[in-house]
């Protein structure tokens, strides 16, 4: 069967190379047959990548241990869902997943109505270059269809940490985010190659940029949720290089999502948008290069297969190409870009938000690279640790929240300070009041209270925006409140879906600030029948139970939880020993009550009646997930409404200037 796998990968390599050449020849000769042949090549690549993916799923699902990859990441007793998700557990499979998604995205672009767009030959070229790169890596270093010399009776099995629902969607979402970013990158390169600095690439790829942001958001949140439930240290984000590698492009794409609006509508920030997009794209490769080559130490390490040189070379080439195009087209971009007209306007606030996001990205990048740089300059590897990130990122994120509280109230073009201040009264009052209430409730910690008050202000700003919008509509349309609210959202999705996402961010921020500032931790050794307290909760140890399940030996502690003397249920933290894995894995149990997570880990035990527990009381962590869901829904709603790939660039229609329905 490995013959099929090898054939597919080699065929992929040759066809992507041929298609790339066909595009160059076709474009030079202006001969459509070559272009059609390249399109046929892309169709073939879709077939090849799809078949390779199907084959890998098949050998994983049926336990073909003659394949090294299957033997390394699965075993007989692994549940089918994890046998299949082992597809992206290792370097080889995840790179194959990347190329499959890339081929699918390329197909979507090339076989869309954009066939006759002059940008398409260049776009196809850049996309094919990416596909070719991945096939080269797959063929020469990371072939998932390699066979073993002797067929083992059983495989090594999947790392127990990866046997979690997060494994099903998290990597997929991250790769989808990365791939979605390749499409706007290709369009931007094509645009500059044709010496065009207009914003057509934005109009054509707005949907892809938003989709990339959506997938990166889902990926990062799922990663955090997974880490929270599986790693057993009580947190959800450890600023590990792997986490940072997907967080970095998220930050820059967040900035891009905002700034492209300026170019689309006002022809502003042309150079900034192009640079931001290039940086975002390069960061996806840079992050992958960092964490898959063992250059930086990470808890989620991949086996180093020697892909570093390949990734470094490709990253270098793409950086040179991007820089070359920006430098040589600088004057054209500058000519096509309007300056920001007024300092106090939505435009300048967008620019400020972009700058802060860029600073945040730089701070994360610096912290991630610091061990590498310190090793290079001093010979000693110094890790900056979580403290650095918390100290640096907290004020940056707080500034962003303040901006989110202020920006929606600033008008486009010409804002008035007086009107702005008048609009700020209610949100500010809400923020100040919330601060006083929190203080009166006994909460302490200046920075946390400031952070929470600012978040409430931000939330109130957005609620006020919805209310004012409904009022404005009702004034013109004379509708009832509900109809007006619904139509406001439906007809102005662009603005109000964005606000929905901001509301999601408010929930997320409350969750992050509260869980950081007000979490409690207790480490206690107790005998059966003994109790210990954490916050208002009392945990009573009721003994250990041992049982077997498939290939697992589970030791579970039974604990009774009381809130202010009232029984609220049982919790069963434990440790799981897998036959195929040397160390036992902690099985965290979480009880949610009144927006608080009682997070318990069985750290150790002496006998059935004496055990040590680590208990954390994490307030409002569930709000992080709720916020994430709101953010995703807001973006999805916005994505559904966009015309995206087919803008009415050349259609004539009268500008409906007064009607707010459009």
């Amino acid at each position: 069967m490995h013959i099929i796998g090898y054939t597919l990968l080699y065929l992929g390599l040759f066809i992507s190379a041929f298609s790339l050449i066909a595009i160059v020849v076709g474009y030079k000769k202006k001969d459509n047959r070559w272009m059609e042949s390249a399109r046929g090549g892309i169709l073939s690549l879709l077939l090849i990548a799809g078949s390779a993916g199907f084959l890998l799923f098949y050998i994983l699902g049926t336990g073909q241990f003659q394949f090294k990859y299957v033997a390394s990441y699965t075993n007989e007793s692994l549940p089918m869902v994890y046998k299949l998700t082992a597809f992206w557990a290792g370097n080889e499979g995840s790179l194959l997943l990347w190329v499959i998604l890339l081929c699918a995205a390329t197909g979507m672009v090339i076989f869309s109505k954009l066939k006759t767009n002059p940008l398409i030959p260049y776009v196809s070229g850049v996309l094919l270059l990416n596909i070719l790169f991945f096939f080269i890596v797959l063929v020469f270093t990371s072939n998932p269809f390699k066979v073993t010399g002797t067929i083992p009776d059983d495989g090594l099995g999947l790392n127990p940490m990866l046997q979690h629902p997060g494994m099903i969607l998290h990597p997929l979402a991250i790769f989808l985010g990365y791939v979605s970013l390749t499409v706007p990158f290709s369009f931007a390169i094509a645009s500059l190659a044709l010496k065009r600095a207009d914003g057509e690439w934005i109009q054509l790829t707005r949907k892809w940029i938003l989709a990339s942001w959506l997938f990166l958001t889902i990926g990062n949140l799922l990663g955090a949720w997974w880490a929270y439930q599986e790693l057993g240290w009580g947190g959800y984000w450890a600023w590990d290089p792997v986490e940072n590698s997907s967080f970095l492009p998220w930050l820059t794409v967040t900035a891009l999502v905002h700034s492209v609006m300026m170019q689309e509508r006002k022809k502003m920030l042309g150079l900034w948008n192009i640079s931001l997009l290039f940086i975002s794209y390069l960061l996806t490769f840079f992050g992958t290069f960092l964490v898959r080559t063992g250059i930086v130490t990470s808890v989620h390490a991949y086996t180093d297969l020697g892909i570093g040189n390949y990734f470094f070379t490709f990253l270098f080439l793409m950086t040179v190409l991007s820089l070359y195009l920006i430098i040589t087209r600088y004057e054209i971009i500058k000519k096509e870009t309007n300056p920001i007209e007024t300092y106090f306007s939505k435009e300048s606030s967008f620019l400020l938000n972009n700058l802060i996001l860029a600073v945040a990205a730089f701070a994360v990048l610096w912290g991630t690279l610091y061990p590498l740089l310190s090793n290079f300059f001093t010979g000693t590897r110094v890790n900056v640790g979580e403290q650095y990130f918390t100290k640096v990122m907290a004020p940056i994120m707080l500034t962003l929240i303040v901006l989110m509280a202020v920006c929606p109230l600033i008008a486009w073009n010409k804002a008035h300070v007086k009107k702005f201040l008048k609009n700020m009264i209610w949100p500010l009052t809400a923020g100040l009041l919330s601060g006083c209430v929190l203080f009166a409730m006994g909460l302490r910690g200046v920075f946390a209270i400031i952070g929470l008050s600012c978040t409430v202000t931000m939330f109130a700003t957005h609620v006020q925006e919805f209310i004012s919008g409904i009022r404005a509509r009702r004034k013109v349309k004379k509708e009832n409140v509900f109809l007006s609210g619904w139509k406001l959202l439906m007809k102005n999705r662009h603005r109000y879906c964005g606000y929905l996402v901001h509301i999601g961010v408010a929930f997320l921020a409350i969750g992050i600030i509260s869980s950081h500032a007000y979490s409690q931790e207790v480490l206690k050794t107790v005998h059966t029948g003994d109790s210990f307290s954490i916050g208002d909760y009392q945990l009573t140890f009721r003994g250990l139970t041992k049982f077997s399940e498939n290939d697992k030996e589970i030791v579970a502690a039974n604990m009774e939880i009381k809130y202010k003397g009232q029984n609220i249920g049982m919790i069963q933290p434990g440790q799981v020993s897998y036959k195929s894995w040397p160390q036992p894995i902690a099985k965290v149990d979480i009880k949610q009550y009144r927006f608080q997570d009682i997070y318990v880990v069985l750290s150790a035990w002496e006998n059935a009646n004496k055990a040590t527990f680590q208990a954390n009381l994490n307030p409002f962590v569930s709000w992080i997930w709720i916020g994430g869901i709101i953010m995703v829904l807001g973006t999805l709603f916005s994505l559904i409404s966009r015309r995206g790939m087919h803008p009415r660039v050349y259609k004539v229609s009268a500008p409906r200037l007064v009607n707010t329905d459009e």
Binding site: R33, G41, P118, I120, E264, A411, V649, P655, R656, V658
Partner: protein, 114 residues
């Protein structure tokens, strides 16, 4: 079993080969691309959206009515210019099309006469 795998491999190769080679059996055709109107990089849709956003800003008391009216006029002018240009382009295209039809007619007539 290896025989089956070889057949599958051959099938995939043949299909891919067909996709790549088949265009070369078609008559030679020049590449055609849609025209680009680089000057109209701000679309009428974008102007629409901007003016609507500004109107919402005015109704939500973030902007004064005078400022809104002034900016609206500017955007209206911009939209008019784009529309006028597009009209001219459309007329030019129609003219070209008519010319081509005339030429074709002349060719047919000439053929009939001979």
């Amino acid at each position: 079993m290896n025989f089956v795998y070889l057949i599958i491999c051959s099938l995939i190769i043949i299909i891919c080969f067909y996709f790549i080679i088949s265009p070369f059996f078609k008559p030679k055709e020049k590449m055609k691309f849609s025209e680009i109107n680089q000057e109209n990089s701000i679309t009428l849709d974008a102007i629409d959206a901007t003016v609507n956003e500004m109107e919402m800003d005015m109704l939500m008391k973030k902007m004064s009515e005078e400022d809104f009216q002034q900016l609206k006029q500017q955007y209206q002018l911009m939209a008019e210019k784009i529309k006028e240009k597009e009209k001219k382009e459309k007329a030019k295209k129609e003219q070209q099309l008519e010319l081509e039809i005339m030429k074709e007619l002349q060719k047919i007539r000439a053929k009939k006469e001979t």
